[in-house]
């Protein structure tokens, strides 16, 4: 079933939209969720949350690319579950490690505390992504959007782990510079 046919099912409030979407994109969503949650039962719950969110949003949403649309919903759902499980805890495994990377170089804890609405960063952040070289951008998003391990990124892109780490470090610094120069943080 094509994306447009899936969207038509959502538009017609036909419940097959859920099962057909799960059939086509379930494995993909599972991978996205597992990268964050590292637990198959939580990942399965997360997929159901993401599909429910799609049901509630389409229409009016009419995603151009169903896969990336669902990827975003799945990531959001997975982060919600992760936050629920780790409320008040410090560290929190691989996500905690990622947050340490980001808070060290991209934005300070205090600056982040002052943010009231992250949506105000949408344009600035995407301008930042657009300013990156393609390879930098891919590495950055794989690490911090899809939350893949450095070794996994290195393996997939045919790079050394140290190269990936260096690119990530430089990209975080560039993000910090852009956010600071625009007075965002």
């Amino acid at each position: 079933m094509t994306d447009s046919e899936l969207i038509k099912l959502f538009g017609a409030r036909d419940e097959r939209a859920i099962s057909e979407t799960k059939l086509r994109y379930g494995a993909y969503c599972f991978t996205v969720a597992m990268n964050i949650l590292r637990n198959s039962e939580d990942a399965e719950e997360c997929i159901n949350d993401a599909l429910l969110a799609a049901w509630e949003r389409i229409p009016p949403d009419a995603p151009e690319n169903m896969q990336t649309y669902l990827g975003k919903l799945t990531r959001n759902a997975a982060l919600s579950i992760w936050r629920r499980q780790h409320a008040g805890k410090r560290g929190a495994g691989h996500i905690g490690l990622m947050l340490e990377e980001l808070s060290d170089a991209a934005a300070s804890e205090d600056a982040l505390d002052r943010i009231e609405d992250v949506m105000t960063f949408k344009e600035t952040f995407n301008r930042f992504l657009g300013s990156l070289k393609k390879e930098q951008r891919i590495i950055f998003l794989r690490r911090y959007f899809y939350m893949q391990d450095v070794e996994e990124i290195a393996s997939a892109l045919g790079l050394s782990e140290s190269k990936v780490k260096v690119v990530l470090h430089r990209t975080r610094k560039k993000l910090k510079k852009i956010l600071e120069s625009e007075g965002s943080l």
Partner: protein, 306 residues
């Protein structure tokens, strides 16, 4: 620890996410460049219809249903080509059977059945909300151990798996597709793994290794545009860029159609499976059987291959 930065990163435009997703096999593509001449030769050598394995004796209805579940239509005329044979391996806990192995020399599409043989096996079968999803490693080197794979993520080979719900008899089938962009390896060894196990821990799959012949066993036809070559088989298409300056102009959601000799055109958008698109190669799986002999040209992206 403040995690708002994760929300900011979640605002990334979908075009950038698509870019990040579509480039995940670059390492293999690079390697492919070096040996593409040999690869092309291997494909071309079998462009005419490859004989179906004479030992096509596996007739399990369960398997037929599992194939159809993933949108691959199976009818009597094509059944013998889709059902190639079976190989299985087991330990005290689980039995893993490869029901179908379809290979066009570059891409391989496999369907497996997993069955529990004891309580530990049943425990695994009940994971992932009764959709067990083993991690799969593959190698052409049997001497590799599970620890080697755990420590060498480059060997990780799971590209797509759609586990079905447990059937009443407690078994489960799932599809596994793998792109081979280096060379036709002939034979591979598959090591299933329990994703819950890390380090040197014992796995419910210990001892299970499947030896699988992934030699080309289905028909492949060649089409060209300029110096670009498109190889079309029943499991998918591969485009390899030739020595020219024209971009491949492929897109995972762009046009993908075949035009038959009688002039009719069949869109295969709904047939897209797992795809990768790069500057010099594009590959996609299909989930619909088409009559290759009647195809006169293929349209992928904005390019016609004749």
């Amino acid at each position: 620890m403040n995690d708002k930065m994760l929300d900011i990163i979640g605002l990334a435009d979908e075009k950038y996410l698509l870019e990040a997703e579509e480039t995940h096999t670059r390492r293999k593509i690079r390697h492919h460049r070096k040996i593409s001449a040999g690869l092309i030769a291997a494909i071309v050598a079998g462009v005419s219809l490859v004989s179906v394995a004479s030992a096509a004796v596996y007739k399990s209805l369960v398997h037929k249903e599992s194939v159809e579940k993933y949108g691959i239509s199976v009818d009597e005329s094509t059944n013998s080509e889709l059902i190639i044979g079976t190989t299985s391996a087991e330990n005290a806990h689980l039995r893993l059977t490869a029901d179908t192995v379809l290979s066009d020399g570059i891409k391989v599409n496999m369907i497996f059945t997993l069955e529990a043989l004891d309580d530990e096996g049943k425990d695994f079968m009940n994971t992932n909300n009764k959709r067990p999803l083993p991690t799969m490693f593959y190698s052409t080197d049997l001497s590799k151990s599970r620890a080697d794979f755990r420590n060498d993520r480059q060997s990780k080979a799971l590209n797509m798996a759609n586990p079905s719900k447990l059937s009443e008899d407690g078994s489960c089938s799932f599809m596994f597709t793998q792109l081979f962009t280096d060379s036709n390896p002939g034979k591979i060894y598959l090591f299933p793994e329990d994703y819950r196990v890390t380090g040197d821990g014992a796995s419910v799959f210990d001892g299970i290794i499947l030896e699988i012949d992934v030699s080309k066993n289905i028909q492949v036809r060649e089409f060209t545009h300029s110096t670009n070559k498109l190889y079309l088989s029943r499991i998918g298409a591969t485009v390899i860029k030739g020595d020219n300056d024209e971009p491949l102009a492929l897109a995972t959601n762009g046009e993908f159609s075949v035009v038959y000799q009688d002039g009719t055109k069949e869109g295969l958008h709904d047939s897209y499976g797992y795809s990768i698109v790069q500057e010099d190669i594009g590959q996609t799986f299909m989930n619909r059987v088409i009559d290759l002999d009647k195809v006169s040209c293929v349209i992928w992206g904005s390019t016609e291959y004749k």
